[in-house]
Symmetry: C2
Subunit: 258 residues, 2 copies
């Protein structure tokens, strides 16, 4: 299994604090030592860093935390391999261009029989069931909508239908994005928290680190963080229900089936 | 205009030396200060680093040179913007998955009228003529070969036909790769050098740096470097002829129209 981390914010925000917590679980406070990756959107541009090394030892993770990169939408993943060898091509998040946008996808769980499903225009490069499921999902969407539908609710309902179908094939906690929205689907375990004014302090569960958000934010900032398990010990995270699908944009929820 | 750098090697090789020379031209010894990027293949896996900052000042460039990453196939690009704003999404090399492989593409030059050409399945995310041309090229290949042809010469001849067509639209010095091969097309300016046993010393043109390849190689190593302009002052680089197309694999040339 793996752990997921996502962020949606209304201003470019650095995710160093949450990432510091997450990567501890990549070999130190958690067993997810089979690589890690992170995708940062800057507008419709994308930066992705992948490392098959454990997150806690990764020079790339250290560099990314120190830079730090500010982004409105972030997806990160630390991996405990079950399907597919530990190598670069099997490291989440996966990326594809679709409808003229970069889509990224990270998965916590395991599918059974997904590779017997036929694919459309998108093909996996690696050998994970996760990347295969991503290609399957995009292929389904492309077949249904050769161009991006103008009605976003129509798009969200179609995605919900397909991810609900994925869930019948196994544990499928998902975070993905098309640069505009952050999509989150919970099959078994996922939590979210929105931080906004009045901001307070937060203390990491996995490292001895506290941040005072009053000092690093402005009053209008809205930042939502989604993670497999809460990352802080003194804040109240909201658990997803199994089967719940949420769409976030600029820190605010824009669609939910709950 | 921009400058290109490519490498094809038969063993994972670090490109720090050449990259050190190239990034000087990104704002110091050359005017290519509108961003830079680099793609490293590890087997069929891919790492890409992009930075809209000038190469010579880029923290990411410094980090990448220090790591260093070893790879058999590398493509790098420093940008002097002519079409498309200076931003992340317009930074080469561009990436697409095609036939189950990651393709990367970097371009030196400028096209006229390319955006009037219709595209197939691949769409640009940014606004450069270069990314548009990449999408056009992949769309043409996908239309001709829905699956990768088993006969590689057939593939190479098709690529040659399409890049020769691109050349009618403007200056199109190209480096691209499908993880297996490094493709190089010269419209106006490109040079290559193959380093192999007996190795010697090389001195950069753009920085006060000399490397003794005898100390960092093994006798069987074969490393080919391709660049817009020679990067070293004491070695003999081979200029491409205008219209020349070369395909390199593991440091050796496997196809050429020369």
């Amino acid at each position: 299994m793996c752990e997921l981390l996502g962020m949606s914010a209304n201003v470019p925000t650095d995710i160093s604090f949450s990432l510091t917590g997450l990567v501890q679980r990549g070999g130190k406070t958690g067993p997810h030592k089979d690589g890690w990756g992170i995708a940062f959107y800057e507008g419709s541009g994308l930066r992705v860093f992948h490392d098959p090394a454990p997150g806690v030892e990764s020079k790339i993770a250290e560099f990314v935390r120190k830079l730090p990169i500010k982004s409105e939408t972030v997806i990160s993943h630390i991996r405990k391999a079950n399907r597919g060898k530990v190598e670069l091509k099997n490291t989440h998040p996966f990326v594809r261009e679709f409808w003229g946008s970069y889509w990224t996808f990270a998965h916590n769980g395991q599918f059974k029989g997904i590779k017997e499903e036929s694919l459309g225009d998108f093909k996996p490069v690696g050998t994970t069931d996760s990347e295969y499921a991503f290609c399957w999902l995009l292929g389904k969407l492309k077949k249904k909508f050769p161009d991006r539908p103008r009605n976003e609710a129509e798009l969200f309902r179609a995605i919900l239908k397909f991810v609900t179908e994925l869930r019948t094939k196994g544990v499928s906690n998902l975070l993905f994005s098309d640069s505009k929205n952050l999509y989150a689907f919970c099959s078994t375990k996922l939590s979210w928290i929105t931080r906004k004014s009045p901001f307070g302090k937060a203390r990491l569960l996995d490292a001895d680190l506290t941040v005072d958000f009053r000092k690093v934010t402005r009053p209008g900032d809205i930042v939502t963080v989604i993670a497999t398990q809460p990352l802080t010990s003194n804040e109240e995270w909201n658990p997803f229900s199994p089967g719940e699908f949420q769409v976030w944009r600029k820190g605010r929820i824009v669609f939910s089936n709950a």
